[in-house]
Amino acid sequence: MKFYPTKLLTITCEILAKKNILDIFTKYSVTGYTSYEVEGRGSRGLRGQGLENEKNIKVEVVISEEKLHDVVEEIARTMFTDFAIMLYVSEIGILRTEKFS
C-alpha cells in the first residue's frame, strides 16, 4: 500500500485560544481538525486543572505544505505572545490525498 507524504500540525494551547485557532483554520480553508482536552506542565506551570476555562486542549490537523506555512505564520504572529500555546509539525503518510487537499 502506498502512503503519500504530508504534514501533521499539532497545537497544544489553553482552551480559550481554541476559537482563535479555528478562525485561522477557516480563514485558510482548512476543512478538518481533531481536538481533545489535555493537561500538562510547561512554562506557565501546571495546566489543565481547576476552572473549566483554564483547561488545555490539543488540536491536530493534517495539512498540505502550502497552507501549513500560512497557518503557522498567522498563529505565531497573532497568538504566541498572549496565549499559553506551543506547536510542532511532523511528517506523516496518508492514504487518500483527496481528503486533505
Partner: protein, 359 residues
C-alpha cells in the same frame, strides 16, 4: 461590637466552613476534587434557581418597582468601572490592557457571590427583592462591554497615531480597524448569548409564567437544595482559590489592597444608595453585593478573547483568591450590619442621632 459577632457566626456557617475546608484541601495537596461535570453544572443550577425566584417575585411586584434600581445599578456599575480604570492605570501603573481587564472584572458581578449572599440572608431570616435577579442579568455583560469598547478605542487611537507617522502604511492599518469593529459586534453577541445570561433570563421568564403554584412542584430541587448545592460548589471554589494562594505574591501589594478596598467602597455605596431608593434591609445588602462582587467565572472567558494581552493570572487570582473570600466572610456581615443600622435608624431620625453622638 455587633458586626464582629456576626462575622464570627458567619464563619461557622456550612458555606464558609466548606470553602475554608477546600482551601486547606488544596494546601495539603490532597487529590480531593469535585468532578468536572458537577462543577460546570452547579453555576447553571444556581443561576436557574436565582432566576426562578426572581421571576416569581416579579410577578407579584410588577416591573415598575425595578426600573429605578435597575437604572441606578447600571449607572453605578459603569461609573465604578471607569473609576477602577483610573485607579489602576494612574496609581497602580498597570498597562492599559491589564487596567481595563481588572477594571471590568471588578465592575462586573459575581453570580456565585450573589448565590452566597442570598443564602446568607436566608440564614439571617431576611428576604430580598426578586427583581435583583434581573439586575444581575443586566449587569453581567455591562462592564465587559464598556471595557472592551474603551480598549478598542485606545488601540485604534494608537494605530491612528502610528498611521500619521507612517503615511505609506495606510491601507494595512485600515484593514486592522475594520477587524476591531467586527470584533466588537461579535463580543456583544457573545456576551448577550453567554450561558450565564441565557439561563438566568430564561429562568426569570419561566418563573414569571409559572408563579408560586407552578413552582411548588419543582421547589424541592430549586429551593430546598439551594444552600446544599452552594456548599458543594464552594468546596471546588476553595480548592481553586487554595491552589492560587501562592500566586498572590505575584499579584503584588497594590492589587491585593485594591481587591479589598474597592469592593468595600463599592458595597457600602451600594447599600446606602439602595436604602435611599427604598429597598428592604436584605435588598440593600444584595444591591451592595452586586456592586462589590468581582466576576471570576465569566471574566476569563470574555476577556481572554477580547483583551488577550491582559494577564489572566492577575484578574483571576485577585477576584477569586482575595475578593471572593473577603466578600463572603467579612464584607457580607459588614453590609448587613450597616443596612440594618440605617434601616432601623431612619425612623429614629439619623441626624438627631449623629448630633447627639457628637455632643
Amino acid at each position: 461590637m455587633d458586626f464582629l459577632e456576626l462575622i464570627q457566626s458567619n464563619l461557622l456557617t456550612p458555606i464558609v466552613l466548606f470553602f475554608l475546608f477546600g482551601i486547606i484541601t488544596a494546601r495539603i495537596k490532597s487529590d480531593l476534587k469535585i468532578p468536572d461535570a458537577i462543577s460546570e453544572f452547579l453555576p447553571i443550577y444556581l443561576l436557574a434557581a436565582i432566576g426562578l425566584h426572581g421571576g416569581i417575585e416579579m410577578r407579584n411586584t410588577g416591573f415598575t418597582a425595578m426600573l429605578a434600581p435597575m437604572l441606578v445599578a447600571i449607572a453605578l456599575s459603569l461609573l465604578f468601572t471607569l473609576n477602577h480604570y483610573q485607579i489602576l492605570r494612574r496609581l497602580g501603573k498597570f498597562n492599559i490592557f491589564d487596567s481595563y481587564a481588572l477594571a471590568s472584572t471588578y465592575g462586573a458581578v459575581g453570580a456565585v457571590t450573589f448565590s452566597v449572599g442570598i443564602s446568607f440572608l436566608d440564614n439571617q431570616g431576611v428576604s430580598s427583592e426578586g427583581y435583583l435577579a434581573a439586575i444581575l442579568a443586566v449587569l453581567e455583560p455591562l462592564a465587559f462591554i464598556l471595557a472592551i469598547f474603551l480598549t478598542n478605542m485606545a488601540v485604534s487611537k494608537q494605530l491612528e497615531e502610528k498611521k500619521k507617522s507612517f503615511g505609506s502604511m495606510e491601507s494595512k492599518i485600515d484593514i486592522n480597524s475594520g477587524e476591531t469593529r467586527s470584533n466588537l459586534k461579535q463580543v456583544l453577541h457573545e456576551s448577550i448569548t453567554g450561558k450565564a445570561i441565557v439561563i438566568l433570563l430564561g429562568s426569570i421568564v419561566i418563573g414569571y409564567i409559572i408563579g408560586e403554584n407552578g413552582f411548588s412542584s419543582i421547589s424541592i430541587v430549586f429551593d430546598e437544595l439551594f444552600t446544599g448545592a452552594i456548599v458543594i460548589f464552594l468546596i471546588e471554589m476553595g480548592i481553586i482559590a487554595g491552589q492560587r494562594l501562592g500566586d498572590i505574591r505575584e499579584v503584588g501589594l497594590f492589587l491585593t489592597s485594591f481587591a479589598i478596598i474597592i469592593p468595600t467602597f463599592n458595597g457600602i455605596i451600594g447599600v446606602l444608595v439602595a436604602t435611599i431608593l427604598g429597598l428592604s434591609v436584605g435588598g440593600s445588602v444584595m444591591f451592595g453585593l452586586l456592586l462589590a462582587s468581582a466576576s471570576f467565572i465569566a471574566a476569563p472567558a470574555v476577556l481572554r478573547h477580547t483583551i488577550p494581552q491582559a494577564k489572566p493570572s492577575l484578574y483571576i487570582t485577585s477576584a477569586l483568591g482575595i475578593t471572593f473570600p473577603y466578600n463572603i466572610i467579612v464584607l457580607l456581615p459588614i453590609m448587613f450590619t450597616l443596612s440594618s443600622f440605617i434601616h432601623n435608624s431612619e425612623s429614629i431620625n439619623l441626624f438627631h442621632h449623629v448630633t447627639n453622638f457628637l455632643t
